[in-house]
Symmetry: C2
Subunit: 132 residues, 2 copies
DNA sequence: AATTTAATTGTTATAATATAACACTATGTA
DNA sequence: TACATAGTGTTATATTATAACAATTAAATT
């Protein structure tokens, strides 16, 4: 069971916005959307984002510089993430596959490096865009 | 066998720099290093980087906004990349594992999305940093 | 409750990363 | 040559992210 984190005011405002969004949001688009709630500066947004990423409530899509809420209860607090990204409509989905996470968690390279974390991004066309 | 690409002047200057570097280089550090060779503006660097990524001579490490030369002859022209990243010394190594690429190339999520590309970044401590 | 410690906030300024737009040049091909 | 395609040089600007510092709030300890 995930530890409950009590979000602060700014964290909650920003998490709620990301959580309601069907697609990942970028930091300055978040800023624009929360200005009416009193969050006026980039740093206020980035600080909340950093914390939310740290506690696993959201993830950063690195190739897009955008943030999405975690919808995968088995994702171990931001330590093991996988996404599919449609290159046309930019729809992003968090992948939750026990097989995949097991395979990657146990993967060892030949240098014997010990991994504590990974991030995997698949790119392609979503079903909708394939049909077009 | 990979198709040979004839690099242009700027592309060659920038590829050579990246290829000689033991660690990934960032765009503006590249710019600084090639100014004496006549490349004066960010766009000149980014255009060469874009092309080099496209033809698979270099890869972008997304989580670091940095570029590394491809040292993996089996990597299918930037379509299937995997790296290990040391969180202390920032050493980055391209992983070439037939098992891993086979597993990921064949991975299908439950939405049946068709993937044409993936990028995987593992994080942890390299051997040297583990011993410290 | 009072103290003290850590986390968060608000603010201004600035750094770092990346692209738009436009005129021009080289290269390959019919 | 004529045309198409890709690359270049340049200026300006957009986008993403952090530094530094003072003030405030929340949480833990006494
Ligand atoms: Zn998740
Ligand atoms: Zn799509
Ligand atoms: Zn490669
Ligand atoms: Zn290391």
């Amino acid at each position: 069971m995930r530890k409950e984190h009590n979000l602060t005011k700014n964290q909650k405002i920003i998490f709620d916005l990301i959580d309601k969004s069907p697609q990942p949001l970028k930091a300055y688009s978040i800023l624009y959307n929360v200005q009416k709630k009193g969050i006026k500066a980039p740093l206020q947004v980035y600080r909340a984002l950093d914390k939310l990423v740290e506690i696993g409530k959201i993830h950063k899509i690195e190739s897009r510089n955008a943030f999405i809420a975690c919808h995968n209860s088995s994702c171990q607090v931001a330590k093991a993430t996988a996404f599919s990204i449609c290159e046309i409509c930019e729809k992003v989905t968090e992948i939750s596959s026990a097989g995949l996470s097991k395979y990657l968690a146990n993967f060892k390279d030949k240098d014997g490096m010990k991994y504590s974390k990974y991030n995997l991004e698949f790119f392609g066309l979503c079903k909708k865009c394939t049909l077009k």
